[in-house]
Symmetry: C2
Subunit: 388 residues, 2 copies
Amino acid sequence: MLGNFSYHNPTKLYFGENSLEYLKDELKNYGKNVLLVYGGGSIKKSGLYDDIVTILKDCGKNIAEIAGVMPNPTVEKLNEGVEIARKNKSDFILAVGGGSVCDYSKALSVSIHCNDDPWQKYYIRFEEPECEIVPVGCVLTMAGTGSEMNGGAVITNHESKLKIGHVFGDDVMPKFSILNPKYTMTLPKYQMIAGIYDIFNHICEQYFSGEDDNTSDYISEGLMRSLIHSSGIAVNDPQNYEARSNIMWTATWALNTLVAKGKSTDWMVHMLGQAVGAYTDATHGMTLAAVSLPYYRHIMPYGIKKFARFAVEVWGISKDGKSCEQLANEGLLAMEKWMKEIGLVMNITDLGVTSDMIEGIADATLILGGGYKVLNREEIIGILKSSM
Amino acid sequence: MLGNFSYHNPTKLYFGENSLEYLKDELKNYGKNVLLVYGGGSIKKSGLYDDIVTILKDCGKNIAEIAGVMPNPTVEKLNEGVEIARKNKSDFILAVGGGSVCDYSKALSVSIHCNDDPWQKYYIRFEEPECEIVPVGCVLTMAGTGSEMNGGAVITNHESKLKIGHVFGDDVMPKFSILNPKYTMTLPKYQMIAGIYDIFNHICEQYFSGEDDNTSDYISEGLMRSLIHSSGIAVNDPQNYEARSNIMWTATWALNTLVAKGKSTDWMVHMLGQAVGAYTDATHGMTLAAVSLPYYRHIMPYGIKKFARFAVEVWGISKDGKSCEQLANEGLLAMEKWMKEIGLVMNITDLGVTSDMIEGIADATLILGGGYKVLNREEIIGILKSSM
């Protein structure tokens, strides 16, 4: 049953090959001191950096920069950004990159005017911002996290071996995001594939929870079917614009709150994957892929009906006289086949996890309510060992 | 392929049995002179009128009223509303009712401060508003039109026998909408069923266009599957909250611009249905149902691949060795079976159309680009005759 909820997503999206044309108009609505945030510099190779700096200068903006935002943005980098933003009186943040750059920019937006320690306040005590929030706009270069249309911001603390996400409210969501599928085509294939699984798992985390048969589940099935279709094309032909554009659009809707509306959600694969990430610094999507099947096979008996539905509605497996258990198993086998076909990392050993890390990763795994089963420490260790 | 587009939907939604609780908070953001708009008075029988007036008074609002908004709001009623709003210096419109009341309120919102004749400006010349737009909030009592989260506003001119919709932009969309499925449960079954088909056809109008295989089509298929599932439950058990809540949520997403993103659309069933409505004043959803199958059977050969996909993905018809044509036909037969099962009006004769009206209805039918085929007058007459 659809429970009580509210829905509001103020982010304005510009999608397509011509979408950067709208940046100039949007910039008119925001401050003069722009903080340009980006990652390892691939946007300089691609020429996107120059295009954006030209637009910012044409708009008469003062530009300060934060470069080198890493795949798993650290608390040290966050604190460094706060210094730079304060020194430059930044009143607008333009994030140019993938999910990490967008996440980092949102974390920064609630930290610049925060009098408390941001890590302690937002990631340990999970408090909401009371301070002024600096508006953020995004130019997305990777499809996966959905960060372009949500309030999520994951930050990693290597010292305490924690990778934690805080989902902030409407007012932290990007004011606008520019989505040009062409920008995602310069990504290494490994990153593209990791992004595809991140998208798929975002949908799974919201789908595998509750016995309901509600509209959100039907929309999730549509998104999964679209992603499975497009990913098959993209892995063989990464320059296929149609496939890359559908993957990019699916990523946005997989994690902008819509498909979670009116239902419970899970998110334990993300908790496990993030703990693996905190220990290995491995690519986010691959950490999710590596723990997914052991996790889903473990919880399957507790949500057997939904797993059977997944087999039929998402993978098109015929019901004919099969038991729920049989269908559920066939569904996860179809998912495993697809995961291997697109080239995902299927175990945490390949991501650098060694047996001596298992206890620590288990301790670093945040235990949530769980879609069908609240895990205990023994179960987490069991799932991690099966993921080796 | 997903073309270039922008997406922005600022409407805030409150969904569920407790959603009216949020009205008080929302009212704080708007003016003191509230114009309360409603229909035939069913909200007085249900007690909703009293609940809302109490909340408005508690918030210290001045209340002016426009009652008796009819199922197909007329241009005379619009002009009458403009007078009342001006006299009362209304600075906020609260629409309490179904799609007609919401549509009417949006048309009013762009007419109150308009120095031109609203019908001529918005419905004949299709111009955009330059004047101040009075903000609108909705409390929805019927699921179907999607008017609660879009900029559409259909107005009927009986004198010139025209029923025309203008889809306005973001700034005309409701600021908030309160969606309580319980409010839809007092509707006569005929109205519930008409609403269900209105929802289904909204999706069809956006789905049956283009050969693309994009995310929007997959989301549309999910919405159609959800609606088919819930409508089967609701027609047998109209008090089933789960079914009614899923129908209500599906209605919102069927026509809030999402599933049209990046693709072309059709809307000819609405053009035909609205012309029938202008002549008969019949219930909107029933006019769509009565012309749909003759229209879709007529255009099927021009979009055969999509109609075959519709059969497989929406109706679960097995492909096994069937031709596109065979699958496409089976899909429309499955749709016809479902339409009859839920009790829709299947011909325009039952809606009061007589043969002497056909020529006039054809003349009143706005000819759009068409999803797969631009119709000519002869074809329109043919479709109308097949709908008798």
